[in-house]
Symmetry: C2
Subunit: 191 residues, 2 copies
Protein backbone atom coordinates (compact mmCIF):
# COMPACT_ATOMS: atom_id res chain seq x y z
CA UNK A 1 0.00 0.00 0.00
CA UNK A 2 1.44 3.32 -1.03
CA UNK A 3 1.34 6.56 0.93
CA UNK A 4 0.11 9.87 -0.53
CA UNK A 5 2.75 12.61 -0.60
CA UNK A 6 0.56 15.27 -2.20
CA UNK A 7 0.85 17.10 -5.52
CA UNK A 8 4.56 17.83 -5.86
CA UNK A 9 7.48 17.52 -8.30
CA UNK A 10 8.80 14.30 -6.78
CA UNK A 11 9.65 12.29 -9.91
CA UNK A 12 13.11 10.68 -9.95
CA UNK A 13 15.69 11.15 -11.33
CA UNK A 14 16.23 14.61 -12.84
CA UNK A 15 19.30 15.62 -14.86
CA UNK A 16 21.67 18.43 -13.87
CA UNK A 17 22.18 20.47 -17.02
CA UNK A 18 23.93 23.83 -17.25
CA UNK A 19 22.27 26.15 -19.76
CA UNK A 20 24.52 28.54 -21.70
CA UNK A 21 23.19 31.80 -23.19
CA UNK A 22 24.29 35.30 -24.20
CA UNK A 23 22.65 38.37 -22.71
CA UNK A 24 21.78 41.57 -24.57
CA UNK A 25 25.32 42.89 -23.95
CA UNK A 26 26.82 39.68 -25.45
CA UNK A 27 27.99 38.50 -22.05
CA UNK A 28 28.03 34.71 -21.71
CA UNK A 29 25.90 33.37 -18.87
CA UNK A 30 25.17 29.98 -17.30
CA UNK A 31 22.44 28.54 -15.11
CA UNK A 32 21.83 25.08 -13.73
CA UNK A 33 18.49 23.45 -14.61
CA UNK A 34 16.98 20.15 -13.50
CA UNK A 35 13.46 20.48 -14.92
CA UNK A 36 14.57 19.13 -18.29
CA UNK A 37 14.79 16.13 -20.60
CA UNK A 38 15.02 14.89 -24.16
CA UNK A 39 11.78 15.80 -25.99
CA UNK A 40 11.90 14.45 -29.55
CA UNK A 41 13.98 12.14 -31.78
CA UNK A 42 13.22 13.78 -35.16
CA UNK A 43 14.10 16.60 -35.07
CA UNK A 44 16.38 15.78 -32.13
CA UNK A 45 15.22 18.11 -29.36
CA UNK A 46 15.44 18.80 -25.65
CA UNK A 47 12.96 20.52 -23.35
CA UNK A 48 14.17 22.76 -20.52
CA UNK A 49 11.84 24.58 -18.13
CA UNK A 50 12.81 27.93 -16.61
CA UNK A 51 11.16 30.55 -14.44
CA UNK A 52 10.52 33.84 -16.19
CA UNK A 53 12.42 35.57 -13.36
CA UNK A 54 15.72 33.99 -14.39
CA UNK A 55 18.31 35.90 -16.41
CA UNK A 56 18.59 32.95 -18.80
CA UNK A 57 14.87 33.13 -19.66
CA UNK A 58 15.17 36.58 -21.23
CA UNK A 59 18.37 35.57 -23.01
CA UNK A 60 16.68 32.59 -24.69
CA UNK A 61 13.66 34.67 -25.69
CA UNK A 62 15.98 37.22 -27.29
CA UNK A 63 18.65 34.98 -28.84
CA UNK A 64 16.41 32.01 -29.75
CA UNK A 65 19.25 29.69 -28.78
CA UNK A 66 20.90 27.98 -25.82
CA UNK A 67 23.41 25.24 -25.04
CA UNK A 68 22.97 22.29 -22.69
CA UNK A 69 26.25 21.53 -20.94
CA UNK A 70 26.56 18.35 -18.88
CA UNK A 71 28.96 18.57 -15.92
CA UNK A 72 30.63 15.48 -14.44
CA UNK A 73 30.19 14.33 -10.85
CA UNK A 74 33.66 15.77 -10.12
CA UNK A 75 32.27 19.20 -11.11
CA UNK A 76 29.29 19.08 -8.70
CA UNK A 77 30.43 22.09 -6.66
CA UNK A 78 30.69 24.32 -9.74
CA UNK A 79 27.37 23.03 -11.12
CA UNK A 80 25.64 23.86 -7.84
CA UNK A 81 27.24 27.32 -7.68
CA UNK A 82 25.81 28.09 -11.14
CA UNK A 83 22.32 27.51 -9.71
CA UNK A 84 22.79 29.73 -6.65
CA UNK A 85 23.80 33.12 -8.09
CA UNK A 86 22.30 35.16 -10.94
CA UNK A 87 24.00 36.38 -14.11
CA UNK A 88 22.40 39.74 -13.36
CA UNK A 89 24.77 40.15 -10.42
CA UNK A 90 27.95 38.27 -11.27
CA UNK A 91 30.03 36.91 -14.16
CA UNK A 92 29.38 33.25 -13.49
CA UNK A 93 31.95 31.99 -16.01
CA UNK A 94 34.68 34.03 -14.28
CA UNK A 95 33.65 33.21 -10.72
CA UNK A 96 33.36 29.51 -11.52
CA UNK A 97 36.69 29.44 -13.39
CA UNK A 98 34.99 28.27 -16.59
CA UNK A 99 35.75 29.14 -20.22
CA UNK A 100 33.07 30.26 -22.68
CA UNK A 101 33.52 28.95 -26.22
CA UNK A 102 31.32 30.53 -28.87
CA UNK A 103 29.23 28.05 -30.84
CA UNK A 104 29.64 28.24 -34.61
CA UNK A 105 26.11 26.91 -35.06
CA UNK A 106 23.87 28.72 -32.58
CA UNK A 107 23.93 32.07 -30.80
CA UNK A 108 25.04 30.70 -27.42
CA UNK A 109 28.26 29.81 -25.57
CA UNK A 110 29.58 26.32 -24.75
CA UNK A 111 31.41 25.44 -21.53
CA UNK A 112 34.90 24.24 -22.42
CA UNK A 113 35.45 22.38 -19.15
CA UNK A 114 32.28 20.23 -19.15
CA UNK A 115 32.59 16.92 -21.06
CA UNK A 116 29.37 17.04 -23.10
CA UNK A 117 27.52 19.96 -24.74
CA UNK A 118 24.46 20.28 -26.98
CA UNK A 119 23.94 23.29 -29.24
CA UNK A 120 20.23 24.11 -29.48
CA UNK A 121 18.11 26.55 -31.42
CA UNK A 122 14.74 27.49 -29.95
CA UNK A 123 11.84 25.67 -31.62
CA UNK A 124 8.90 26.26 -29.30
CA UNK A 125 8.01 28.16 -26.12
CA UNK A 126 5.30 26.62 -23.94
CA UNK A 127 3.96 28.58 -20.97
CA UNK A 128 2.92 26.18 -18.21
CA UNK A 129 2.80 28.18 -14.95
CA UNK A 130 5.73 29.30 -12.80
CA UNK A 131 7.94 27.61 -15.40
CA UNK A 132 7.98 28.02 -19.16
CA UNK A 133 9.15 25.06 -21.24
CA UNK A 134 11.56 25.78 -24.07
CA UNK A 135 11.89 23.15 -26.79
CA UNK A 136 15.31 23.39 -28.45
CA UNK A 137 16.40 21.54 -31.58
CA UNK A 138 19.76 19.85 -31.06
CA UNK A 139 21.86 21.19 -33.94
CA UNK A 140 25.05 19.42 -32.84
CA UNK A 141 26.54 17.54 -29.91
CA UNK A 142 30.13 18.17 -28.81
CA UNK A 143 31.95 15.74 -26.53
CA UNK A 144 35.40 15.39 -25.04
CA UNK A 145 37.21 12.48 -26.73
CA UNK A 146 37.67 10.83 -23.32
CA UNK A 147 33.93 10.37 -22.71
CA UNK A 148 33.19 8.87 -26.16
CA UNK A 149 33.00 5.08 -26.66
CA UNK A 150 32.03 3.54 -30.03
CA UNK A 151 31.34 7.08 -31.27
CA UNK A 152 28.79 7.85 -28.53
CA UNK A 153 28.90 9.54 -25.12
CA UNK A 154 29.07 6.79 -22.48
CA UNK A 155 27.24 7.29 -19.17
CA UNK A 156 30.07 5.90 -17.05
CA UNK A 157 32.63 8.16 -18.78
CA UNK A 158 30.55 11.36 -18.79
CA UNK A 159 29.50 10.52 -15.21
CA UNK A 160 26.69 13.11 -15.12
CA UNK A 161 25.10 14.37 -11.93
CA UNK A 162 21.59 13.32 -10.89
CA UNK A 163 19.20 15.56 -8.97
CA UNK A 164 16.83 14.23 -6.32
CA UNK A 165 14.00 16.76 -6.26
CA UNK A 166 12.49 15.94 -2.87
CA UNK A 167 15.81 15.70 -1.06
CA UNK A 168 17.29 18.62 -3.00
CA UNK A 169 20.45 16.58 -3.31
CA UNK A 170 22.85 15.34 -5.98
CA UNK A 171 23.81 11.74 -6.70
CA UNK A 172 26.37 10.09 -8.97
CA UNK A 173 25.74 7.43 -11.61
CA UNK A 174 26.26 3.82 -10.49
CA UNK A 175 26.73 0.46 -12.19
CA UNK A 176 25.60 -0.47 -15.73
CA UNK A 177 22.48 -2.68 -15.68
CA UNK A 178 22.22 -3.95 -19.24
CA UNK A 179 21.09 -3.14 -22.75
CA UNK A 180 17.74 -1.55 -23.53
CA UNK A 181 15.40 -3.51 -25.82
CA UNK A 182 17.35 -6.68 -24.92
CA UNK A 183 17.19 -7.06 -21.13
CA UNK A 184 13.42 -7.64 -21.19
CA UNK A 185 13.25 -9.98 -24.19
CA UNK A 186 12.96 -13.12 -22.06
CA UNK A 187 9.60 -11.86 -20.81
CA UNK A 188 8.13 -11.62 -24.33
CA UNK A 189 5.60 -14.45 -24.65
CA UNK A 190 6.48 -16.90 -27.43
CA UNK A 191 3.65 -17.39 -29.95
Amino acid sequence: MKRSLGPATLALPSPVWVIGTYDSANAANLMTAAWAGIACSKPPAVAISLREATYTYANIVERKAFTVNVPSASQAQVADFLGIVSGRDVDKFADAGLTAVGSELVDAPLVAEFPLSLECRLLQTVKIGLHTLFVGEIVDVKAEEGVVRHGLPAMDLVSPLLFSAGEQSYYAVGDPLGKAFRLGRDLVRKP
Copy 2:
Protein backbone atom coordinates in the same frame (compact mmCIF):
# COMPACT_ATOMS: atom_id res chain seq x y z
CA MET B 1 38.95 20.34 -27.73
CA LYS B 2 35.62 18.63 -28.19
CA ARG B 3 34.60 16.35 -31.03
CA SER B 4 31.37 16.84 -33.04
CA LEU B 5 28.96 13.91 -32.78
CA GLY B 6 26.27 15.41 -35.02
CA PRO B 7 22.67 16.40 -34.27
CA ALA B 8 21.38 13.61 -32.03
CA THR B 9 19.56 13.00 -28.75
CA LEU B 10 22.73 12.39 -26.76
CA ALA B 11 21.99 14.29 -23.55
CA LEU B 12 22.65 12.43 -20.30
CA PRO B 13 21.00 11.13 -18.19
CA SER B 14 17.40 10.28 -19.08
CA PRO B 15 14.88 8.81 -16.62
CA VAL B 16 13.14 5.45 -17.11
CA TRP B 17 9.48 6.10 -16.42
CA VAL B 18 6.62 3.68 -17.05
CA ILE B 19 3.49 5.45 -18.28
CA GLY B 20 0.12 4.00 -17.21
CA THR B 21 -3.07 4.58 -19.24
CA TYR B 22 -6.44 3.04 -20.00
CA ASP B 23 -7.45 2.22 -23.57
CA SER B 24 -10.92 2.70 -25.08
CA ALA B 25 -11.99 -0.72 -23.75
CA ASN B 26 -10.84 0.24 -20.22
CA ALA B 27 -7.87 -2.12 -20.39
CA ALA B 28 -4.89 -0.89 -18.37
CA ASN B 29 -1.70 -0.43 -20.40
CA LEU B 30 1.92 0.49 -19.71
CA MET B 31 4.82 1.78 -21.75
CA THR B 32 8.36 2.75 -20.87
CA ALA B 33 9.43 6.30 -21.73
CA ALA B 34 12.80 8.01 -21.41
CA TRP B 35 12.12 11.28 -23.26
CA ALA B 36 10.69 12.88 -20.13
CA GLY B 37 11.29 15.17 -17.17
CA ILE B 38 9.81 17.51 -14.61
CA ALA B 39 8.38 20.56 -16.42
CA CYS B 40 6.97 23.01 -13.85
CA SER B 41 6.87 23.62 -10.09
CA LYS B 42 3.52 25.51 -9.91
CA PRO B 43 1.39 23.73 -10.97
CA PRO B 44 3.63 20.71 -10.40
CA ALA B 45 3.95 19.09 -13.81
CA VAL B 46 5.89 16.56 -15.84
CA ALA B 47 6.52 16.41 -19.58
CA ILE B 48 6.61 13.07 -21.40
CA SER B 49 7.22 12.72 -25.14
CA LEU B 50 5.64 9.88 -27.13
CA ARG B 51 5.43 8.87 -30.78
CA GLU B 52 1.94 9.09 -32.22
CA ALA B 53 2.30 5.43 -33.29
CA THR B 54 2.28 4.20 -29.69
CA TYR B 55 -0.81 2.75 -28.08
CA THR B 56 -0.32 5.01 -25.07
CA TYR B 57 -0.47 8.15 -27.23
CA ALA B 58 -4.09 7.52 -28.26
CA ASN B 59 -5.00 6.58 -24.68
CA ILE B 60 -3.71 9.90 -23.32
CA VAL B 61 -5.47 11.88 -26.03
CA GLU B 62 -8.74 10.13 -25.17
CA ARG B 63 -8.51 9.93 -21.36
CA LYS B 64 -6.63 13.19 -20.73
CA ALA B 65 -4.68 11.43 -17.99
CA PHE B 66 -1.69 9.20 -17.32
CA THR B 67 0.45 7.95 -14.47
CA VAL B 68 4.24 8.06 -14.21
CA ASN B 69 5.51 4.97 -12.42
CA VAL B 70 9.17 4.78 -11.39
CA PRO B 71 10.65 1.25 -11.33
CA SER B 72 13.64 0.36 -9.16
CA ALA B 73 16.94 -0.93 -10.54
CA SER B 74 15.88 -4.41 -9.39
CA GLN B 75 12.92 -4.14 -11.80
CA ALA B 76 15.05 -3.29 -14.87
CA GLN B 77 14.05 -6.42 -16.80
CA VAL B 78 10.33 -5.70 -16.41
CA ALA B 79 10.82 -2.01 -17.24
CA ASP B 80 12.65 -2.92 -20.44
CA PHE B 81 10.01 -5.49 -21.42
CA LEU B 82 7.33 -2.77 -21.15
CA GLY B 83 9.20 -0.82 -23.84
CA ILE B 84 9.55 -3.75 -26.26
CA VAL B 85 5.97 -4.96 -26.83
CA SER B 86 2.80 -3.00 -27.62
CA GLY B 87 -0.45 -2.92 -25.66
CA ARG B 88 -2.17 -3.44 -29.00
CA ASP B 89 -0.84 -7.00 -29.05
CA VAL B 90 -0.48 -8.12 -25.45
CA ASP B 91 -1.72 -7.48 -21.90
CA LYS B 92 1.49 -6.00 -20.58
CA PHE B 93 0.35 -5.96 -16.93
CA ALA B 94 -0.37 -9.71 -17.10
CA ASP B 95 2.76 -10.68 -19.02
CA ALA B 96 4.97 -8.60 -16.72
CA GLY B 97 3.30 -9.93 -13.58
CA LEU B 98 2.26 -6.44 -12.50
CA THR B 99 -0.91 -5.27 -10.75
CA ALA B 100 -3.00 -2.31 -12.00
CA VAL B 101 -4.48 -0.16 -9.25
CA GLY B 102 -7.09 2.37 -10.36
CA SER B 103 -6.30 5.94 -9.40
CA GLU B 104 -9.01 7.73 -7.43
CA LEU B 105 -7.85 11.07 -8.82
CA VAL B 106 -7.18 10.59 -12.52
CA ASP B 107 -8.46 8.29 -15.25
CA ALA B 108 -5.34 6.07 -15.36
CA PRO B 109 -3.92 3.01 -13.57
CA LEU B 110 -1.01 2.89 -11.11
CA VAL B 111 1.53 0.06 -10.93
CA ALA B 112 1.30 -1.54 -7.47
CA GLU B 113 4.78 -3.09 -7.61
CA PHE B 114 6.79 0.04 -8.50
CA PRO B 115 7.91 2.14 -5.51
CA LEU B 116 6.90 5.61 -6.75
CA SER B 117 3.94 6.80 -8.86
CA LEU B 118 2.64 10.18 -10.00
CA GLU B 119 -0.99 10.70 -11.00
CA CYS B 120 -1.24 13.23 -13.82
CA ARG B 121 -4.01 14.96 -15.71
CA LEU B 122 -3.24 16.23 -19.18
CA LEU B 123 -2.60 19.97 -19.28
CA GLN B 124 -1.06 20.59 -22.70
CA THR B 125 -0.20 18.72 -25.90
CA VAL B 126 2.77 20.04 -27.88
CA LYS B 127 3.52 18.58 -31.33
CA ILE B 128 7.26 18.69 -31.98
CA GLY B 129 7.99 16.16 -34.75
CA LEU B 130 8.20 12.38 -34.46
CA HIS B 131 7.39 12.87 -30.78
CA THR B 132 4.56 14.82 -29.18
CA LEU B 133 5.17 16.27 -25.73
CA PHE B 134 2.40 15.86 -23.16
CA VAL B 135 2.47 18.16 -20.13
CA GLY B 136 0.69 16.52 -17.20
CA GLU B 137 -0.21 18.20 -13.92
CA ILE B 138 0.89 16.09 -10.96
CA VAL B 139 -2.31 15.69 -8.93
CA ASP B 140 -0.75 13.40 -6.34
CA VAL B 141 2.38 11.36 -5.67
CA LYS B 142 2.15 7.88 -4.15
CA ALA B 143 5.19 6.19 -2.65
CA GLU B 144 5.95 2.95 -0.85
CA GLU B 145 6.67 3.67 2.81
CA GLY B 146 10.09 2.02 2.42
CA VAL B 147 11.37 4.59 -0.09
CA VAL B 148 10.27 7.66 1.93
CA ARG B 149 12.74 9.51 4.20
CA HIS B 150 11.74 12.72 6.03
CA GLY B 151 8.43 12.58 4.14
CA LEU B 152 10.05 12.61 0.69
CA PRO B 153 11.09 9.94 -1.81
CA ALA B 154 14.84 9.36 -1.41
CA MET B 155 16.93 8.64 -4.51
CA ASP B 156 18.97 5.87 -2.85
CA LEU B 157 15.82 4.14 -1.60
CA VAL B 158 13.75 4.46 -4.80
CA SER B 159 16.91 3.50 -6.73
CA PRO B 160 15.49 4.51 -10.13
CA LEU B 161 16.93 3.39 -13.44
CA LEU B 162 18.88 5.75 -15.69
CA PHE B 163 18.87 5.56 -19.48
CA SER B 164 21.95 6.28 -21.56
CA ALA B 165 20.55 7.35 -24.94
CA GLY B 166 23.62 6.83 -27.11
CA GLU B 167 24.55 3.48 -25.61
CA GLN B 168 20.88 2.39 -25.36
CA SER B 169 21.73 1.04 -21.92
CA TYR B 170 20.52 1.26 -18.33
CA TYR B 171 22.53 2.34 -15.32
CA ALA B 172 21.85 2.39 -11.57
CA VAL B 173 22.12 5.36 -9.20
CA GLY B 174 25.42 5.70 -7.35
CA ASP B 175 26.65 7.60 -4.30
CA PRO B 176 25.16 10.80 -2.83
CA LEU B 177 27.25 13.88 -3.69
CA GLY B 178 25.81 16.58 -1.43
CA LYS B 179 23.04 19.09 -0.97
CA ALA B 180 21.85 21.37 -3.74
CA PHE B 181 22.08 25.13 -3.09
CA ARG B 182 24.70 24.39 -0.42
CA LEU B 183 27.55 22.50 -2.12
CA GLY B 184 28.47 25.51 -4.28
CA ARG B 185 28.20 28.22 -1.62
CA ASP B 186 31.95 28.41 -1.05
CA LEU B 187 32.36 29.68 -4.62
CA VAL B 188 30.02 32.64 -4.04
CA ARG B 189 32.22 35.76 -3.98
CA LYS B 190 32.02 37.62 -0.66
CA PRO B 191 31.11 41.32 -1.06
